[in-house]
Symmetry: C2
Subunit: 178 residues, 2 copies
């Protein structure tokens, strides 16, 4: 039976899982579940950041970021990064067992251990009232490991980390990413 | 080995899967993969629609929409809705084996067969250049079936429909949604 909820936040809590990614800017790294594509053309993505986060300050000033897609094997790194603020801890990469290099098109670091890195330049900021401010980043450089498979990525919502589920219909990963 | 791609759209193609939902507005229903939360407070979500879609016209004029979360059992309904334009076919619900009723807080239909319905009022439109225009909807009413489980939802990207994957860490669905 369907119930009508008085708490409207229950609508957010009830959502399916979304991909979890590392957002890197400058020398900092954070974990985000508020991430999606924005447009196919120009190819661009968006990420939602709470204004109190160190990453928010950094993106505001540097006008760039990278999206780094982790695998489910990197859950420990995600949990470590998610538990530390770069404002207080300047060695989050090492603490999380990750390494970095500078992007080609941006000055920020990208994560070596992630199979996909998207170097992005901020082209718009969505500054409406709300818990999150969203930045739209136009993709300027794409790095993909030839062994990357969508099936290996990690999903998250409401405290639940999940694998990507079985393919019901569509081409196999290996036919897409070769 | 990681390769740098010349085609920047490859960055979009490489993304993990996202939830697929029905977007309803007025008497129309469409399928969308461009959907995310926007803010916890006020609880709001956003959906990206191509301007050439009939749904885009409808949301622009009605300033409301509903998000209806299907289960993986409803893949056939999704494929039927995804293949028809409401501009030419005014009976998509019946064609897809779905029924509807009017929302409590909005004039648009919501889908009876979906376990979650979020009735939303458009509070902002994101009108930047790009293939999609995004509408931010503040949640005004939430309906959730007491048997809803996040594990039963459906994911999509790049032609691949997928189940939600196994829980790696976190509370079980039944401990969250009771």
């Amino acid at each position: 039976m369907k119930k009508t909820h008085n708490e409207l936040i229950d609508g957010i809590k009830a959502l399916p899982p979304f991909p979890v990614v590392f957002v890197t800017v400058g020398k900092n790294i954070m974990v985000a579940g508020a991430f999606h594509f924005f447009s196919y053309n120009p190819p661009s993505v968006m990420v939602g950041i709470k204004p109190e986060k160190y990453t928010y300050e950094l993106i505001k000033s540097m006008k760039e970021f990278a999206i780094n897609i982790p695998s489910k094997e990197q859950l420990d790194s995600i949990k470590i990064c998610g538990s530390l603020s770069g404002r207080k801890e300047d060695n989050k990469y090492e603490r999380a067992g990750l390494t970095h290099k500078q992007g080609n098109k941006i000055n920020s670091y990208i994560v070596n251990e992630c199979s996909v890195n998207l170097e992005c330049e901020v082209v718009h900021e969505i500054d409406f009232d709300g818990s999150h401010k969203w930045f739209i980043g136009e993709i300027k450089q794409v790095h993909v490991d030839e062994n990357y498979r969508r099936s290996d990525t990690l999903m998250f919502w409401l405290g639940q980390f999940r694998e990507v589920g079985a393919l019901i219909e569509g081409r196999k990963d290996e036919d897409i990413f070769l």
